[in-house]
């Protein structure tokens, strides 16, 4: 047997190391559809508990929307379950192309290509469009999937300090000799909830003849007046060369993603992006669901408007309670606790109060930046938010962190 005691012992040791460091991840089993109110089994084997979900990416509350569920049922009936093929052999249906065209229109780009996930879109796009003669300049806080995609590409890679446009300009000067320059950023940064300065970035990139790629996973559907994304908020629709985004968050929350942008760049992905070439695309049932989502959000801004109001209400409530928050105006509102154990303890105490909100700590966020990341949804009603605020207040008082500064919390609980 190849799996020897030595091999097993090595992995057991590594797993124990992760546990000892307090970094072991455990899943909580949800027994209900994804929504503001969910039923959770935690820890495994415990009786089900009804809690308010404050940490889903279900920004528009469409994950279990009856119209989306019905459209998915209809899609299953009319187009079947699976394709048993990659796109370019016999895995493309009419509805795949229909969704690509709707996304192109919605995002204000030239063309779109679906991927099994945005992780796959980000894994494939760089290698498909760049070579060793090019340079990628990315924000230091971009999502891990972008980092992985950049690693798979032969282009030189450099970074800039988070949202530092002077630094970007210096780097574009430093790399002026490269064939192509591609600047990479998240639209909304998932851990901090702040927004990229896309207007400034586009202006600087025009000056230095650089392309811009934005991952809009935490913005598509709700950022900007009509929910097109960060590029709409910053007034640069049509000026972003590549947008990658997901359907696994606001846009129904099931799975799938895309690369959308300049026609030739999208076509290069169709010809060369390995996750597109060597993996089945999104299942028909999911495509049918996302098509309905696109219909809903194209017809009305009601849900993104409600989300905006909910997020402002929640941020105001936490601020008045005396929590330290990250600045921002998105539905991602991180409650800063700085200490990893404190973040986990607060999360557990909130759960006991019927609130599901997860602690994040190193290596997901930098050392000494542990937090509870709260995420607001259009599926939340004011009574959900009031109950959650009451729980946060109670737990905050119990841990004596309300009205305390960062320095005071660190002095009490450590880094």
């Amino acid at each position: 047997m190849a799996y020897s005691d030595k091999i097993r012992g090595t992995y057991q040791g590594q797993l124990k190391g992760i546990q000892d460091a307090g970094l072991f991840k455990q899943e909580r089993f949800i027994h209900s559809p994804q929504a503001a109110d969910i039923e959770v089994e935690f820890p495994a084997g415990a009786p089900l508990k009804k809690v308010i979900n404050m940490c889903a990416n279900n920004y528009l509350g469409l994950s279990s929307h009856p119209d989306v569920v019905k459209a998915a049922h209809d899609g299953l009936d009319s187009r079947g379950y699976g394709m048993s093929s990659v796109r370019f052999i016999c895995g493309t249906q009419d509805i795949h192309r229909e969704l690509e065209q709707k996304l192109t229109q919605f995002l204000g780009t030239e063309d779109t290509l679906l991927f099994p996930s945005c992780m796959d879109a980000n894994a494939g796009v760089f290698e498909a469009i760049l070579t060793k003669d090019d340079v990628i300049i990315s924000d230091r806080l971009v999502h891990a999937s972008l980092v992985d995609g950049i690693r798979l590409c032969s282009a030189m890679h450099d970074t800039i300090k988070h949202s530092d446009m002077e630094h970007l300009e210096e780097k574009l000067q430093l790399h002026a000799d490269k064939r192509f320059k591609l600047v990479v950023t998240d639209g909304v940064f998932s851990m901090d909830g702040d927004t990229a300065k896309l207007d400034e970035m586009v202006r600087i990139c025009e000056k230095y003849d650089a392309m811009v790629l934005v991952d809009e996973s935490h913005s598509s559907g709700f950022i900007g007046k009509t929910g097109r994304g960060t590029h709409e908020k910053c007034g640069v629709v049509g000026q972003i060369d590549v947008i990658t985004t997901t359907f696994g968050k606001a846009l129904g929350g099931a799975s799938g993603g895309c690369v959308s942008g300049r026609r030739e760049l999208v076509e290069m992905c169709r010809q060369r992006a390995r996750p597109y070439l060597f993996s089945n695309t999104i299942a028909p049932v999911v495509v049918a669901g996302v098509l309905k989502v696109m219909d809903i959000i194209s017809k009305s801004t009601e849900r993104r408007d409600k989300l905006e109001k909910n997020a402002a209400y929640w941020r105001k409530g936490l601020t008045e309670a005396g929590f330290v928050l990250k600045e921002g105006d998105t539905p991602i509102i991180p409650v800063m606790l700085f200490n990893a154990k404190l973040a986990q303890d607060v999360s557990r105490a909130l759960y006991d109060e019927g609130i599901y909100a997860i602690g994040f700590f190193f290596p997901v966020v930098p050392q000494s930046q542990a937090r509870i990341r709260t995420q607001i949804s259009a599926g939340h009603e004011i009574h959900h938010l009031d109950k959650a605020l009451a729980a946060f207040n109670k737990v905050g008082q119990a841990f004596d962190i309300l009205g305390k500064t960062k320095q005071e919390i660190i002095a009490k609980y450590g880094m």
Partner: protein
């Protein structure tokens, strides 16, 4: 040249990689193994040194170990400057 070179590298690394509230660096601070500079961001330091000293540092010499402290970087640069003659 050695002290001046170290000072230039130290200033560049501080400006390029450190946040405002970071602990100050020394010539021996572990830059890469200490998580101050990630291997991606090493690119700009390498290009800065190549431009400033008009040298070319081959990728095989630009290892994370060779870039792990200001002292080590200075030694590397001096070696290539000497080669240039």
């Amino acid at each position: 040249m050695a002290e001046e070179l170290k000072d230039i590298v130290l200033k560049y690394v501080t400006k390029e990689y450190l946040e405002d509230d970071s602990e100050p660096l020394t010539y021996d601070s572990p830059l890469i193994s200490g998580g101050i500079v990630d291997s991606f961001s090493m690119v700009s330091l390498k290009r800065f040194l190549e431009n400033r000293y008009q040298i070319a540092i081959p990728d095989e010499d630009a290892s994370p170990e060779a870039f792990d402290s200001v002292n080590k970087i200075a030694a590397l640069v001096e070696r290539f400057v000497a080669k240039k003659g």
